[in-house]
């Protein structure tokens, strides 16, 4: 992440004709701290902070950020209802014309926070809202149909490009102007179709598309098919006392020293670790490689993420047949969907070959 600035500009004086904007950011962009401050409860501060300075420029003379709400990502996600209410109250006090959240890029918890609060501000306070996220951010899937979500890259390096798009869309919303199609405005498709007259009629466009397809040239469909990717639940375990159970985690638990050098974010690999004969994951032998959450607790006792101690005990008591001799681990922090899929396909193949019956998957 490169978006850290310590300079400050005086908050613009709000003139009567200006639209008031409230901006929501997390503890990192609020310059309160990194992951160790993710439990920071929501706090309202006057004027723009961090990326708010770029928004101030992009909004121009017509609008000004009068307050910034800074909130820790973990605090928001672990207290969804309370957080929503707290932040809503802060926004209500300011009575802004527009609410901007993020952009959150590929930060999952931040994206979920931005989406939930922007959705709440719109539906409960009737104030238009805009946010920004990477298409793979879980918050994007959850809220793109409810809140205009400008498409961003997967990291904050894209801030310069995203801020003007969010500001421009936000101003259009406030002014009640027509919002163009997602391809024009740069937001993630929200399921709403816009009708317009094209210069070429449909039959011509279809033939052109077909010709391009036949020539292996690029073409863009005008009607993408929805992807419903649901997987049916695996069959229930009939007899636990005969079942072999494996632990898989995206919480980054590894033997101390991280022998496979799994990256702390955007992981490109996973590890498999032998735990036959291990009764307890102790701090002298195990730690987490995961960035993006405070590692103190997992480093103190990795059973908090990979519960070997309880499952080993259950194995001894005969409650489960066997705790699988290997656990599989990667880091789920900003890791691409493509990589996660590949890891899981490989892991599943190994688990099946090793005679595992069921999986306990833990995520941080």
């Amino acid at each position: 992440m490169s978006w850290v600035t310590t300079c400050s500009v005086p908050a613009k004086e709000v003139t009567v004709s200006q639209y008031k904007v409230v901006h929501y950011i997390n503890q990192f962009f609020g310059q309160i701290g990194g992951e160790e401050m993710a439990d920071y409860p929501a706090e309202k501060r006057p004027g723009p902070i961090g990326p708010g300075l770029a928004f101030t420029q992009a909004l121009g003379e017509d609008a000004a950020i009068t307050a910034t709400i800074v909130c820790g990502d973990s605090w928001f996600n672990e207290n969804l209802e309370l957080a929503r209410q707290t932040v809503l109250d802060m926004v209500r006090e300011e009575a802004p014309d527009l609410f901007i959240a993020g952009p959150a890029f590929n930060a999952g918890r931040y994206g979920v926070a931005c989406g939930s609060i922007a959705d709440a501000v719109q539906s409960e306070l009737g104030i238009p809202a805009v946010t920004g996220m990477y298409v793979e951010n879980p918050g994007a899937d959850m809220f793109r149909e409810k809140v205009y979500t400008i498409a961003t890259g997967d990291n904050a390096a894209g801030m310069r490009r995203v801020v003007p798009a969010m500001a421009s869309l936000g101003l259009k919303l406030v002014r009640g102007e027509d919002i163009g199609a997602s391809v024009e405005e740069g937001y993630l498709p929200n399921g709403i179709r816009k009708n317009f007259f094209d210069q070429k009629r449909g039959s011509l466009r279809a033939i052109e598309m077909l010709l391009n397809k036949l020539k292996d040239k690029p073409f863009v469909t005008e009607y993408p098919m929805p992807v419903y990717d649901r997987v049916e639940a695996g069959p229930a375990i009939k007899d636990l006392s005969r079942a072999t159970i494996a632990i898989v985690t995206s919480g980054g638990i590894v033997p101390k020293g991280n022998p496979d050098r799994i990256e702390s974010s955007s992981a490109t690999r996973y590890g498999s670790y032998h735990i036959a004969g291990v009764d307890d994951l102790t701090s002298d032998k195990y730690e987490t490689a995961h960035g993006g959450y405070d590692p103190v607790y997992a480093n103190q006792d990795a059973d908090r993420v990979v519960p070997v101690d309880v499952l080993r005990q259950y194995e001894k008591e005969g409650k489960i047949g066997k705790l699988h001799d290997w656990f599989y681990s990667t880091v789920g922090n900003g890791t691409s969907v493509a990589n996660s899929k590949r890891f899981a396909v490989e892991i599943a193949e190994k688990l099946l070959a090793q005679g595992v019956d069921a999986v306990i998957m833990t995520s941080t």
């Binding site: 993710a38 996600n77 672990e78 969804l80 999952g108 918890r109 979920v112 879980p138 899937d141 959850m142 990717d229 997987v231 049916e232 639940a233 695996g234 069959p235 229930a236 375990i237 009939k238 636990l240 159970i245 898989v248 919480g251 959450y293 405070d294 590692p295 103190v296 607790y297 997992a298 103190q300 006792d301 059973d303 908090r304 993420v305 519960p307 101690d309 309880v310 499952l311 005990q313 259950y314 409650k319 489960i320 990667t330 789920g332 996660s340 899929k341 890891f343 899981a344 396909v345 892991i347 599943a348 688990l351 099946l352 069921a358 999986v359 306990i360 998957m361 833990t362 995520s363 941080t364």
Partner: protein
């Protein structure tokens, strides 16, 4: 990851704190946990109590694995 493992035919129970994300990605058996940095623990408890808490969460996970589910289910 949950989905791809399940696609291979293995039942999976997902233990996580931010359950809306789990629902979005398509986990079928979900057990809500304690907190993001310590899903199966609680550092301010005595070690014995903390173990007990973890044991209860694993009990729920094992219950989930023995339950037939036809749609996404939260085991709270």
């Amino acid at each position: 990851m949950v989905k791809e493992i399940e696609r291979a035919g293995l039942p999976v129970v997902h233990l996580c704190t931010v359950t809306p994300i789990s629902l979005t990605v398509g986990a079928n058996r979900i057990v809500p946990t304690v907190a993001i940095p310590y899903p199966l623990g609680k550092p301010d408890l005595e070690p014995k109590e903390e173990y007990e808490l973890r044991r209860r969460l694993i009990d729920k996970a094992l219950d989930a694995l023995t339950a037939e589910v036809t749609e996404q289910t939260l085991f709270e």
